[in-house]
């Protein structure tokens, strides 16, 4: 009988077993159970099978940034409800519930910080907030992150975790695809690098906009990265899908990402890339001071000179 089988059946949109308990501290693939603090210490990666749990924005920032270095910007932006949208539940209520559940203003947190001592602008999505869906606030905050990068002359790192555009904002959500692509274009004009990190899942309007445009694109193991979800593809085409359809290692094989990076190596990989992009900035011996003051004119000129020199 299916219920007592230990073999995991992959099906539809989510390969994780449909019979899995909703306990967030139980691994959906191997059923190993963890204490909450244990899972945080493990970076939410299952010690038994390597399954990568979804990570919220704040925890992700804590995993990546040097302690105390992250300063959030545009935290006060909140989604409006321009269409007075109601499906089975009012959009306004969904927003309130999501804010109460996650403690976040919307599905993205942006700011500046340092990783391995290198300064960077950072935009981190949170799948727990309405499926990480991209509406007006996500688009605006990503644009703010790009502004921060340009103003400080630092790279931008975006960590995506999103089902796609937010249907409750319909056409305005679709326009955020153009807005975020233009935010990346602004970085290109400023000759600043953009690093895209795709985590499970990065689909729909997010993978078809800024997340696809990384100068370096990294993905977490087994992250789903496809424009259309597996169920939609299955239903539309009646094609048999490959078992690893849209998964990060398939994307690596097909040439859509530069590397699949386990979470335990992500911070170090980003630190290394930031150092590479900065040219010959040596690895700092002491961690950067928390809440570093904005760079002085002299520092900014110096960093411009370094970038100019590294381009030859």
């Amino acid at each position: 009988m299916a219920e007592i089988s230990v073999n995991i059946q992959r099906d539809g949109d989510d390969p994780r077993p449909t019979t899995a308990r909703k306990d967030p501290n139980t691994c959906p693939t191997c059923r190993s159970h963890y204490r909450a603090d244990e899972l945080v210490a493990l970076l939410r990666v299952c010690r038994q099978c390597g399954h990568h749990f979804v990570v919220g924005a704040r925890e992700r920032i804590a995993q990546l940034c040097d302690p105390g270095s992250f300063v959030e910007h545009a935290a006060d932006l909140r989604s409006a409800d321009p269409l007075a949208f109601i499906d089975l539940k009012a959009y306004a209520d969904r927003l309130t519930d999501a804010e109460l559940a996650t403690g976040l203003g919307d599905a993205i947190t942006v700011g500046v910080g340092t990783i391995g001592g290198s300064p960077t602008a950072l935009a981190v999505m949170d799948f727990g907030f309405l499926g990480g869906s991209m509406g007006s606030v996500v688009g605006e905050k990503l644009a703010v992150a790009s502004d921060l990068a340009v103003a400080r002359g630092v790279p931008l790192i975006a960590v995506a975790a999103s089902g796609g555009a937010r249907m409750q904002e319909n056409i305005l959500a679709l326009m955020q695809m153009a807005k975020t692509v233009m935010a990346i274009d602004q970085l290109r004009d400023a000759r600043l690098p953009f690093i895209s990190v795709c985590t499970h899942p990065t689909t729909g309007g997010v993978i078809a906009s800024f997340a696809a445009l990384g100068d370096v694109t990294l993905a977490e193991p087994d992250a789903l990265m496809s424009f259309a979800g597996p169920r939609v593809v299955q239903d539309t085409t009646k094609e048999r899908l490959p078992d690893d359809f849209g998964r990060s290692h398939a994307n690596l094989r097909l040439g859509h990402v530069d590397a699949v990076v386990p979470r335990s190596e992500l911070a170090a990989t980003l630190a290394r890339l930031l150092r590479l992009f900065a040219g010959s900035i040596p690895e700092p011996v002491v961690p950067a001071p928390p809440r570093a003051a904005p760079p002085s004119l002299g520092q900014r000129l110096a960093s411009l000179f370094r970038r100019g020199a590294s381009r030859g």
Binding site: A75, G103, M177, Q186, G205, F210, A212, A228
Partner: protein
């Protein structure tokens, strides 16, 4: 006890809602009408000459997108549009019902870059249910090509006039719709997902498409209200399919006017103005300042 006036008011409002729901659904049906003029009909009506380009120079030619060089009021332009098949089942399948694959967007990008190099204005015609959700399309980078097409349009220094002439479905439509001016026909629709797709996700039932369409308002009037499009182009009474020639003339007048406006700008200004225009898109508010920031600080 029910107060009669309240009840009358309630019923009147419900009738009004039902009326509005019907109106919106009419637009959905008209936008999909199989006799509606398609991109190649506008190409035939607007350009004195048109030479179609084929192929993405990498994998294939995608007949769901047409691209080429045309003469519009004596001026060379590049035209790109979604193309649905008409008349026979074979032709509809050949055009893949207007659903492009990555090759189609790569061909579009090729045409955009040509236009920019030669200084030709770009006219696009948007009419697709969405980009094709197939295994091959995904494997060949559907998402990346849509993003790249949006980026290519964003970077153009030549004028870009996009016209939504039927279904503006999702990212597959936006990939051709990043214009200095975006026009939309009266009965065209433009939305983040099809009403059926929205219904099947939010209502768990694709049959609720009518309800979904009413809730998310994919109409030209709503897009104009929200600042997503710049003008609504009138259609012949009963819809564009009733009188192709008149529909094409109305689109011609609107595109000409929009093109004249945009041609007045300097090339670099055009690109920055386009970026500023899309930057403004969206509606949001603010909470009491830094509640989230203090929450973050408290957590550490």
């Amino acid at each position: 006890m029910v107060r009669v006036t309240d009840e009358v008011r309630r019923l009147r409002r419900r009738f009004q809602e039902r009326g509005e729901e019907s109106q919106i659904w009419d637009a959905v049906l008209l936008a999909r009408h199989t006799s509606r003029p398609y991109t190649l009909d506008y190409v035939g009506g607007l350009f004195s000459d048109f030479y179609e380009l084929h192929g993405d120079r990498a994998f294939a030619d995608d007949p769901a997108i047409v691209a080429g060089i045309g003469t519009y009021h004596g001026r060379p332009v590049v035209c790109v549009g979604n193309q649905k098949g008409r008349d026979t089942v074979e032709e509809r399948i050949r055009r893949n019902f207007g659903m492009a694959r990555p090759e189609g967007y790569r061909k579009a990008i090729r045409a955009f870059e040509l236009a920019d190099r030669l200084g030709f204005p770009v006219l696009t015609f948007v009419d697709t249910p969405g980009a094709y959700p197939g295994v091959g399309a995904e494997e060949r980078g559907q998402a990346g090509m849509i993003a790249s097409s949006i980026l290519a349009m964003a970077r153009l220094e030549v004028p870009v006039i996009a016209t939504v002439i039927g279904e503006g479905g999702s990212g597959g439509a936006l990939a051709l719709a990043v214009g200095d001016r975006v026009l939309m026909q009266e009965n065209a629709i433009y939305s983040v997902i099809s009403p059926e797709g929205c219904a099947s996700i939010l209502w768990k039932d694709a049959a609720q498409a009518r309800k979904a369409a009413y809730a998310f308002r994919p109409t030209a009037a709503s897009c104009l209200d929200l600042g997503v499009i710049d003008a609504v182009v009138a259609e012949p009474s009963g819809g564009a399919h009733k009188d192709h020639e008149r529909a094409i003339r109305l689109v011609d007048v609107a595109i000409s006017a929009a093109l004249d406006e945009v041609l007045a700008l300097a090339p670099r200004d055009r690109r920055l103005a386009r970026r500023a225009k899309f930057r403004r898109m969206g509606v949001w508010g603010t909470a009491e300042p830094d509640t989230t920031a203090s929450g973050l600080a408290a957590e550490r």
